[in-house]
Structure formats: structure tokens, C-alpha cells
């Protein structure tokens, strides 16, 4: 099975207090970058689907990771090659601001070239929290899609049985390949993913795998191609315009009220919540 995983780097969410806004733009210098966690889960899922859990080193397919960004976003791609992805593509966007729709259209062109059996993506990026690329891509490709997957089982690499968590239980959907699937956190639980080769009893360690040192060295030799955004889509103008950013207001100090009556009054008249 050949799997394409789009990957975004995001400013380290733990450093959110460092984010600055200048003239309606986010200042990104000095931020530490991290792969979007849901995309990391997607890569982990792709690796699990293309190997036999007990013999993780023998690959049974190909995992191609792709990112959109400037040259230094290649670090994120190399990191994924270090954890086991086979090949990487960077769509060069310079520092231009793009939106999910541009990404989806460019990905469509890339998918038509690469012809993967499956596009696996994170359910959303934790910076903008838009959560749209996967769905848009499926629409543009006319492929079936399953979103927020918590478990995936391969049925002979022809179809996937995808478990989605819903209120009160899990829905199982069968999607025929090729398809687009987006993944949620539970996908990296020990028994969430089964490739055609994975023994039924196999359990992975919880979470995303670490890049072993030897694999980091090997990743240097893995192919990483650069593609121009203009070669994938003639129209790279974003549909979404970001007018302004503002930081959430700092929390204001609380006040002491004398009694419940005053509390209720103020909740009604000032906070207007009751």
C-alpha cells in the first residue's frame, strides 16, 4: 500500500505565551517549530499500516510525507524520515501565507501524480484548528473519506474498516480505496491499527515511535524532493483572508460579592449569562 501523509509544522503550542502580533500579523521569528501532533499520528498510522507490527523494520509499502513551507521546514520532513517514512516532498511556498483550500488543491495535483492508495492526515492542525484540508481534498478528488478515525483495519489493502468515535459508541465505516482518512488521538493506542500483516495479538507501545539514532543517520540518505507550488496549482491565492490577529484578553481580577442575591443580579445585569 502506498500512503501519502500531508504534514504541517506548527509553532510549539507549549510556547504560546511567546506568540506576538505585529500590525495584524503573527510574528513567527523565534518560535520553536514542532510537527502538528495529529499529523504525527497520521505518520505513525501510515507506518503501522505498511509493516507487520512484530517486524517493524520490513516495510510492506511506501509512506510519502509532504509538507508546504519554506526551506527550513525540511527539518520536520527529515524528522519523519527518521521515524520511518520512506520519502519526502516539500512544496515550496516560501514564507507566503496560504490557506487550507490552496493546500487541498495542490495536494490534489500531487495525489494525481503520486497515485497513492490512501491519503492519511491529521484531523486538524493545532495552530489554526481549521480542520478542513482532508475533507476538501476528498471532495476535489472525488474520493471516499472517513474522518476522525480512532481505529483502522486494512481489508486486504482494498478497503479500510475505520472506527470513529461518536456519542455513546463507535461507528465502523468501510471505505474503499483509494480514500482520504483523517485520524484522531486514539489512533495511536496500542491496538488501533492493523495492517494486513499485523498479527491479531500484536500491541504497539502507546503513542508515536521515537526516531532511533541509526534511523536518523539513514534518513539523511532518503529522498527529499522539492516541488514548486505553482507547478501544482495555477491559482495559489488564498480564499481566506486573515484580517487581523489579536491575543486573548488577559484575565481580569475577580470581585467579591456580598451574597447570593448580588451574585445573581450581577450575573444577570453585568455578565448577562443567566
Amino acid at each position: 500500500m502506498k500512503i501519502l501523509v500531508p504534514l504541517k509544522r506548527v509553532a510549539d503550542p507549549d510556547n504560546a505565551n511567546k506568540v506576538k502580533v505585529n500590525a495584524g500579523k503573527l510574528v513567527t521569528t523565534g518560535l520553536e517549530w514542532k510537527p502538528n501532533p495529529f499529523d504525527e499520528y497520521a505518520v505513525e498510522t501510515a507506518l503501522r499500516l505498511t509493516e507487520n507490527g512484530t517486524a517493524t523494520k520490513t516495510r510492506q509499502g511506501e509512506v510519502v510525507v509532504v509538507t508546504f513551507g519554506p526551506k527550513d521546514s525540511e527539518t520536520t520532513l527529515r524528522a519523519m524520515l527518521g521515524t520511518g517514512a520512506d520519502r519526502a516532498i516539500r512544496v515550496d511556498t516560501g514564507d507566503d501565507q496560504i490557506d487550507g483550500d490552496v493546500v487541498a488543491r495542490a495536494l490534489k495535483a500531487l495525489v494525481e501524480k503520486e497515485k497513492p492508495d490512501l491519503v492519511l492526515c491529521g484531523k486538524q492542525a493545532v495552530d489554526g484548528d481549521s480542520g478542513q484540508v482532508g475533507q476538501q481534498l476528498a471532495e476535489y478528488l472525488g474520493w471516499p473519506q472517513a474522518t476522525f478515525a480512532g481505529s483502522i483495519e486494512s481489508e486486504g489493502d482494498k478497503a479500510l474498516l475505520v472506527g470513529r468515535e461518536v456519542d455513546g459508541g463507535t461507528i465502523k465505516l468501510r471505505v474503499e480505496l483509494p480514500a482520504v482518512v483523517s485520524v484522531d488521538l486514539r489512533i495511536v493506542a496500542p491496538k488501533s491499527v492493523k495492517s494486513v500483516h499485523t498479527p491479531a495479538t500484536h500491541a504497539y507501545p502507546e503513542g508515536v515511535r521515537f526516531a532511533a539514532l541509526m534511523a536518523i543517520m539513514a534518513a539523511k540518505k532518503k529522498p527529499l524532493a522539492e516541488v514548486k507550488l505553482a507547478d501544482l496549482t495555477s491559482d495559489a491565492a488564498p480564499k481566506i483572508q486573515y484580517l487581523d490577529y489579536e491575543l486573548p484578553p488577559a484575565r481580569k481580577a475577580g470581585v467579591k460579592v456580598k451574597d447570593v442575591t448580588e451574585l445573581v443580579t450581577r450575573l444577570k445585569t453585568e455578565a448577562k449569562v443567566v
Binding site: T29, G30, A79, G82, F210, A211, L213, M214, I216, M217
Partner: protein
């Protein structure tokens, strides 16, 4: 942001200050690039955060127990160590011939610092194993490397170092463990007991190889008669069977901190597990007969730098915890704010709290810098282009080792104490991790040579060595930094350079005077004060180095908060710490003999 170490700081130290990227021009490191260094650091950060840190509290609360002769540890320890080994971290700094990744030592140690910060109790096992493997690589025969190092590299065998005995700790020359050669002479039988052995017994690995100092009867007395032996817990018997060697646990020590590291009193050759019907632990000589101290120092020198770095890593994580607390704890109002209805400010707004945070920052970040500087010297000593440069690096390493071990052990312990102070009463409870960090850090001035022993090593051995050459080398490096600072045309740099220059000159003067005192008792009476004063001068120099880099790079980068923080910490060190050196050196210079003439009975 990691609560273990600041990745931004590590990048600053490795790339902006030490320029480890330039090492990739050298043969040994030629396969590397910044990208591989960064990837390794990320792997270390993740394994430390996800597999080591989560059980630090549990390992502290459930100290190792001996149940039916088996050491029981929390179940999280073993998989954490397996992840460490599977990632290839045991051999990260070793040569390709043993499957190593040939990382520069500064990068390897920076990565390892994450584990020391996350959970020093669990990190000790690989610390000891890596040290033991490096010793064997330097002194072992080819067969010994194959037999012991190979399984260490994959995490199947762990190592220990067995020097101390109940009656012989600081005074290693007085050990009484004996090693008796077998009639054929190729094996030895060891008899005696070893106290305080970290990782002395456990079920975490298939085998444990103890590196044991012992005396072969008939040898010279004292340290000159000590040899080194590899004594595995399990040896190979007839037909490859695993046979239990005659090493057994007599008891476990119940420690104040560092509890995740099992610490045992071991009996060698007490007949509990006889081999071929006879008592005596079977061991192999490593290196030369009576050459044990030299070989063991290979491991000890490495361990001393790592102990210093461990103290710094604990200081760092305690600092980050107390910083986060100070930012979130509202208490009191700014001076001059009379209106009691205004909201309270977070305590980080108070000058005295900032003093405690600055002190921690100056101690911890300075100590990490010093540790990585020393690690970098190890690479210089090994791979610098000229013999001259390699020799200079070796001398610098010799003189800096007691400082790199002791200074962080003393001051980052104080740092962890300040971290408790910042937390107020909450810091004194077990609901917050800083009291554990303090207890863990309290070990560092004791093991791997106590503070007092390091002091004597510095003033009694390292300074006078080769006519004082190492100290001259060190002073020359400091003067070069001072010259660079003087060339920066701002008042601040000039002032700092001037202050350091004066102290370097004083240190030289006082050193000459003390060493000229003749009587060793007089010379060494205040060695500990000398160690602390020299340490402070070294750290002031380190901070000046860091401030110069910060000043240079501040202009072109936008994360100026980071660089301003460095400059502020440097200023703090020069304003609050460096002035302490004057009185310390004055005391040393006075050759005061209060401690020498004090009589036991007068206490």
C-alpha cells in the same frame, strides 16, 4: 516548553557558543550535520519526557526492595531503559566499530542531560553502563570488548563501578577486596565486599558486569597495588550455560534521594554461589596488573563531568518548575500599591523572587554550559588537528574536571533549595517535585569523590601538575575572552572584562603564594575554599563568554528576550557572585590554620 531543560538554551550553547557544527569537518564526525544533532536531541527529549519523567515520583516513593533476594523496582523502569537502548543511545558517542553513532561528546551529553533532568534515578543505569563500556573500550582486550561491551551496547548488559568499601570510601588505597589468580593465571577469584554500589543488582538487564577494584596479594601497598577486574553476575559455564557468579546482595541502602537507583552492599566470594564447588567470584583482569586506578579513572573522569551535568540538569528542571510557579502564583502587590482591592500580582513581579530565579538561572545555565564545555574538550583532546591542541585540551580537562564536578554539585544544590523557597510552603511538600529534586541533588557533592576530595585534587594535584601548566592554559583562555570583551565597545562589557581580569590576576597571585607555603597541611587547609573561589572565577568567565555571544547575536535575531535573559544572568553573576571571590581568596592567601590547629577535644 519542556520543564526539563530549555531546548533554546541547548541550541544556543551548542551552535551559537561551542559551534559544534564545525566539528563535522573532522573525520570522526563527518557523517553529521546540525540536522542529525537536532534530531538526536529531539529523540532524547521525547524519550526522557514520555518514558523517564512520568515515573520519577513513583521511583522516589517506592524505593527498591529486596524480596527473596530479588531487587524489586517500579515496573516502568525497565521499558524506559529498553526505549533508551533501542533508540541507540547507549552507543551514541561511541565509535562505528561497536555500532556507535560517533556523536560529538557535547551533543551526546546535552541529550543525556534530558534524562538526568527527567529522572536521575533511572538515568543512572545507562550512565554507569556507558561509562563502563567506555572504560572497557579503552583498556579491555578485544575478547573483553566482544564479551562485555557488545551486550552493553544493546542494553542487554548493564555495568557498575565498584570502588568503595564500608571502611574505604575516600581512601580507595585502603580497600581490602582480594583477587587471587587461578592456577592457570587467566582468571581470578575475588573475595571481599563493596559498599554503595549503584545498580549493584536488579532484574533490568540480562547480566550485570561489575568493574571491581581489588588487590592481588603480593602487590605494592596503597593505590599502586590495585587492579581492575570485570566480574559479571552471570558467567558462561560448560556448554554455554548461564552460571550464577559468586556475587550476592547483602543489603540495600535506604537513601535520601536518587532512590530509583538501587544501591547495594555486595559480597564477592562469600560462597553463596559456589563455582566448580568453590567460593570466590570469578573475574577477569582488565588492563594491567596493578594498573587498576589508572583504568578506573577513565570511568571516573567521565562520570565526574556527568555528575556535574546531572547536578546542573536537576538545577535546571527545578528552575523551570519554580519559574512556572512564580508566574502563576498571585501574592501581594507591587510596592507602593496601596489599594487593597487591586488584584494581587504573580510573585514573579517581586524583586526578591526574581533574585531567587536569577540565581537559579545563573547557576543552572552556567553549570550546563561548563559541562558541555568540558564535553567539548573531550572531543578536542581526541580529534583536534594538532598534537599541541590535543594536549592543551587534555590539560584543560584535567584542571576543569574537579570544578565541573563540584561547582554544580554545590551551587545547583543551592539552586534547588531556592526553587523550594520560590514555592513557599508548597515547595516543602511532596505535592510539588522540587523537594525531590533537592534530595536527589544532595548526593552530588558526596559521590564520585566528595567535595573535599575534589578540592584536594584541584589544589594538590591539578594546579601544581607540570609546573602549573594547566592553570596557565586556563588563564590564557580567560584572558582571550577578556580581550574579546574589551574589544566590544560598550561600557557593560568593559566593566565585566575588567572585573574578571582582576580576579584572574588575584587567583594567580594567591595560587603562587599558597603553593609556596611548603607544608602540605598548610597548603591544603583551605583547599575547599580555593575550589569554590576558582569555580566562581571559571563560572564568571563562562558567563562572560555566553554574554559575548548573546550580545553579538541579539542584533540579528528577534527572540531578544532570550538574549536579554543571558545578559541579565551574566550581570547577576558578576554583581552578586563574583565579588564573593575576593574574601575567599584573601582567606586562602592568609594561610589561615584555624582548621589545622583546632583540636578534636575542643569541639
Amino acid at each position: 516548553m519542556s520543564m526539563l531543560l530549555s531546548r533554546r538554551d541547548l541550541s544556543f550553547l551548542l551552535y551559537e557558543w561551542l559551534d559544534v557544527e564545525s566539528l563535522t569537518k573532522r573525520e570522526r564526525f563527518s557523517l553529521h550535520s546540525r540536522e542529525t544533532f537536532d534530531a538526536v536531541l529531539s529523540t532524547c527529549e521525547r524519550i526522557a519526557t514520555e518514558r523517564f519523567a512520568p515515573h520519577a515520583k513513583k521511583s522516589d516513593e517506592e524505593e527498591p526492595k529486596l524480596v527473596d533476594d530479588v531487587v524489586v523496582l517500579p515496573r516502568e523502569v525497565k521499558p524506559a531503559l529498553a526505549a533508551f537502548a533501542e533508540a541507540g543511545l547507549v552507543t551514541a558517542g561511541m565509535g562505528a566499530e561497536v555500532g556507535g553513532m560517533q556523536l560529538p561528546m557535547a551533543v551526546e551529553k546535552a541529550g543525556f542531560a534530558y534524562f538526568l533532568a527527567a529522572n536521575v534515578g533511572t538515568a543512572s543505569y545507562p550512565l554507569l553502563t556507558i561509562g563502563a563500556a567506555n572504560l572497557l573500550l579503552a583498556y579491555g582486550s578485544e575478547e573483553q570488548i566482544e564479551r562485555y561491551v557488545t551486550p552493553m551496547t544493546t542494553g542487554h548488559t548493564f555495568g557498575t563501578m565498584c570502588l568503595s568499601e564500608e571502611h574505604a570510601g575516600s581512601s580507595v588505597g585502603d580497600i581490602s577486596t582480594r583477587a587471587v589468580p587461578s592456577p592457570s593465571g587467566d582468571r581470578y577469584r575475588l573475595f571481599g565486599s563493596k559498599m554503595w554500589i549503584s545498580g549493584g543488582d536488579h532484574e533490568l538487564s540480562e547480566n550485570i558486569v561489575h568493574l571491581v577494584l581489588a588487590k592481588v596479594p603480593g602487590g605494592p601497598p596503597g593505590t599502586k597495588g590495585i587492579s581492575l577486574f570485570a566480574v559479571p553476575k552471570w558467567i558462561e559455564g560448560a556448554g554455554g550455560a548461564r552460571v550464577r557468579n559468586d556475587v550476592s546482595v547483602v543489603g540495600l541502602n535506604h537513601k535520601m534521594g536518587y532512590r530509583g537507583t538501587v544501591n547495594a552492599l555486595l559480597a564477592f566470594g562469600d560462597g553463596k554461589h559456589t563455582i566448580d564447588g568453590e567460593a570466590g567470584a570469578v573475574g577477569e583482569l582488565v588492563g594491567e596488573l596493578h594498573g587498576g586506578m589508572k583504568a578506573m579513572f577513565h570511568m571516573m573522569n567521565e562520570a565526574r563531568i556527568t555528575v556535574g551535568l546531572g547536578a546542573a540538569a536537576l538545577g535546571s528542571t527545578a528552575f523551570l518548575h519554580s519559574l512556572a510557579y512564580a508566574r502563576s502564583r498571585p501574592q501581594g502587590r507591587k510596592l507602593g500599591e496601596r489599594d487593597a482591592t487591586t488584584p494581587q500580582v504573580p510573585i514573579v513581579a517581586h524583586a526578591d523572587v526574581k533574585r531567587m530565579l536569577l540565581a537559579q538561572k545563573a547557576y543552572a545555565e552556567g553549570a550546563i554550559a561548563l559541562g558541555l564545555y568540558c564535553a567539548n574538550l573531550v572531543d578536542e583532546a581526541r580529534t583536534a588537528d594538532t598534537e599541541e591542541a590535543r594536549d592543551e585540551a587534555k590539560r584543560l580537562l584535567e584542571i576543569l574536571t574537579p570544578i565541573a564536578k563540584s561547582w554544580p554539585s554545590q551551587h545547583c544544590l543551592e539552586g534547588t533549595s531556592l526553587a523550594i523557597q520560590v514555592h513557599g510552603g508548597y515547595g516543602y511538600t511532596r505535592d510539588y517535585p522540587v523537594e525531590r529534586m533537592y534530595r536527589d541533588n544532595r548526593l552530588n557533592p558526596i559521590h564520585e569523590g566528595t567535595h573535599g576530595i575534589q578540592a584536594m585534587d584541584l589544589l594538590g594535584r591539578k594546579v601544581p601538575m607540570q609546573g602549573g601548566r594547566a592553570l596557565f592554559d586556563l588563564a590564557a583562555r580567560m584572558r582571550a575572552t577578556i580581550a574579546r570583551a574589551l574589544a566590544v565597545r560598550d561600557e557593560g562589557s568593559q566593566r565585566l572584562a575588567g572585573a574578571l581580569e582582576a580576579m584572574v590576576a588575584r587567583l594567580g597571585e594567591v595560587t603562587a603564594k599558597v603553593l609556596g607555603a611548603g607544608d602540605p597541611e598548610k597548603i591544603l587547609a583551605n583547599a575547599a575554599v580555593y575550589l569554590e573561589a576558582t569555580g566562581h572565577v571559571v563560572l564568571a568567565w563562562t558567563w562572560l563568554e555566553l554574554a559575548l555571544v548573546a550580545g553579538k547575536n541579539m542584533g540579528r535575531a528577534e527572540d531578544s528576550d532570550f538574549y536579554r535573559g543571558k545578559l541579565a544572568a551574566c550581570r547577576y553573576f558578576f554583581a552578586y557572585e563574583l565579588p564573593k571571590v575576593g574574601p575567599m581568596l584573601a582567606l586562602v592567601e592568609s594561610l589561615d590554620t584555624t582548621t589545622v590547629t583546632m583540636k578534636d577535644a575542643w569541639f
